[in-house]
Amino acid sequence: MSDHSHTFTPPSPERLTHDLDRVSKISLAIGVIALISSAVGGYCDRVQALHSYLFAFMYFYTIMAGAFFWTILHHAVDANWSVIVRRQFENVANLMGVMAVGFIPLFIFREDIWKWTQPSELAHSVLLQEKHGYLNMPFFIVRLIFYFGFFTGAAYFYRKLSTAQDSDGSIVHSWRLRWWSPLSIIGFGLAITFSALDWLMALDYHWYSTMWGVYIFAGSAQSSMATCILIVFLLRKAGYLKPLSGEHAHIMGKLLFAFTVFWAYIAFSQYMLIWYANIPEETVFFIKRNNGSWTYLSVFLVAGHFIFPFIYLLTQAVKKSWASLSVIAVWILFMHGVDHFWIIAPVVRPDGFSMRWTDFTSFIGLAGILVYVFIRILGSAGLFPARDPRLNDCIKLTN
């Protein structure tokens, strides 16, 4: 149980000592090949391939945004427990730069994805003309700059100060990071909401839901927690981050559980209210996804995204073990994919559930490149903020 000695030696800084160069290069190669195949797929069926790519893009984008959320939340509430895992959230959030580049194909081929961007659509749709004040190209570009500018800039800032503390040990960094965090939460809230509206809700510009931003946020926070659990599990497997205990796993498990329930709460509220009121311009979203074999995916989403992880995570023992926790983390990451597939694919595959090979190649492509960059980021600084003033409290943690 807890250590009763008073002399507490802080853990010495850890750097990645394994040579992952080969792994990262293989991953990059796979990624590039997969993306090239996606491009080939796009040559055959541009619309389908682009939606496959959007699916992969949104999958990773939301995870990165979520990782940024956990970073700023840590500072805003001045938490103890998360100090030692914070670097991993910072690392994941710093992949946002890749996503900014990854948006280029979506931007170039926007007219195949977002119908409202077609000039002809604007000409004949009265509804779109009504929405033109928001759905117009110049403003869309301004928003794009804001989303990526904010996320890449802020994620860089949080990691930069955090790693600066590794070298000089100054408490001023912690204070500055905390000072900025409430403001960052506002930026985060705006960026995640409106990017969700722009890229997903506007896939069908007729449809709207005030809950949409919250829905995307809920899945984003949940899946990024799962990602971080998995990264920590793998690092521990490789012999790092040993001061972390089952207590830390327990907290991450509890937060994963909390956001599993929160996601369900938001998803249910949105569905139930639209179902109950039964207004055609709103029900269109769910009708599309309760049509033909999509119905099975919808039911699977409820069961897999909520019911199964809910039951799995209820007991304490499961949450206290990194191994059992990472099993559900993998599952949640899979279901996060199902969620985004369920949002995006029915738009272009109205007849029923089907998968294209570009769904896989886009996903593997982005994943390969992100793993490559992630390994670089991982190796470029310590694996945890070794001179954070709250590190000792973090390690001595008991629930």
């Binding site: 008073h6 001045d78 001023v172 005030t210 809950m211 949409w212 709460y265 509220s269 209210l273 629930n399």
Partner: protein
Amino acid sequence: MATNFTPEVEAYAKAEMTRQPLVLHKRDLAWVTQKICGIVEEPTPTWWWIAFLITASLSVLTVGGVAYLISTGVGVWGLNHPVGWAWDITNFVFWIGIGHAGTLISAILYLTRQKWRTAVNRASEAMTLFAVVCAGIFPGVHVGRIWMVWFLAPVPQANAIWPNFRSPLLWDVFAVSTYFTVSVLFWYVGLVPDLATLRDRAKTKLRKWIYGLLSLGWRGGNRQWRHYEMAYMILAGISTPLVLSVHSVVSFDFATSVIPGWHTTIFPPYFVAGAIFGGFAMVLTILLPFRAIYHLEDIVTVKHVEVMCKIILLTGTIVGYAYLMELFIAWYGANPNERYAFYNRALGPYWWAYWSMMFCNVIAPQFFWFKALRTNIVIVWVIVQFPNIGMWFERFVIIVTSIHRDYLPSSWGMFHPSITDILTFVGTFGIFLTLFLLFVRFLPMIAIAEVKAVLPQADPHHHAEEETHVHSSQK
């Protein structure tokens, strides 16, 4: 790459980052017991009698208003066509919302191990219960024929009339009664060790008997504490979804409809955030005066007040997000009815209510960005009056502005509260405060056992340190 800061900056940051103790002036366990039990044990102060007389007289207004309503009919209220729902339901939602801070503090902050909650949880939970009592009056009496109110419960009866399970109003009955039951249990379980403390200190036989009865034979043994901790944890787990569900269900009363301004999917979390916002404002409104009267500054420290202000800022900003999202989607959805509903809210005949709401709920809490304001108790008390007012207006705006413009202009109308409306509502503050005054007089208003648990003395390390020190000096 190392940045060099001046020693002043380093010192400032260090001071800023140092955690404040939860109980100031190194108070010990005995002091905590004495301080809190003293409030209950001292002879009833004169101010208490004066306050009690005022609040008890105020509550007569509600009793009278309800008696008048039942004996005469719903016509004594200002309801009309098309505004068939106004103050009754506004007051109901207002009071239900007030309760949420208590449950958030007692349950969610417990699960997230926020130790500062111990100083404020007991009083906030009490407020939860009293607020739900005030809230319960309104749906109870607004059914018109109150002797039929039991029809809301799904009990088998001769007429074979079952409640409509598809109606959110029925879900409300279940949600609120579950909430009340669990909140009472949670509050009472937490009270047991403290009631035993009062029992053990009681000077008169009657007191000893009553507190003894209420403390359920608590002896403070290891096994009892283990059971207690487990029960408390489970109740916290059950209460947590209730924090979200109750106000979500309340929001369904409106959001399941197709009335412009009522039907919007963000309602559930937005109502929950608003409820916590309004609830914290009420907690500070009531707690700060008692903190001053009973000199509880060492337990309910400025840091506690500051943290609560931050929660108000956060939830107020979430509410602001929801307001703006509603406005944005009303415009974006491009449904003329929906657009009109929001245009009418902001610029129609109820513009004053809308902008009062906006100012009180979104602008006013922004003052809490500044530490100087958060740490000034008087300013805090003044600022939290805005959410109190604003959250009432929010419900009024949602309810009345959405229905006072019917689809046909011939059915447009305005709502004017009758004197009975106003006095019945004012009276509920009397009920709320009377119950709170009684609570303060007879029960420990701060969780004694829990505050002791967050003292440094409660930490095994602390004792070891001191004992070693003592032993070595003795040698």
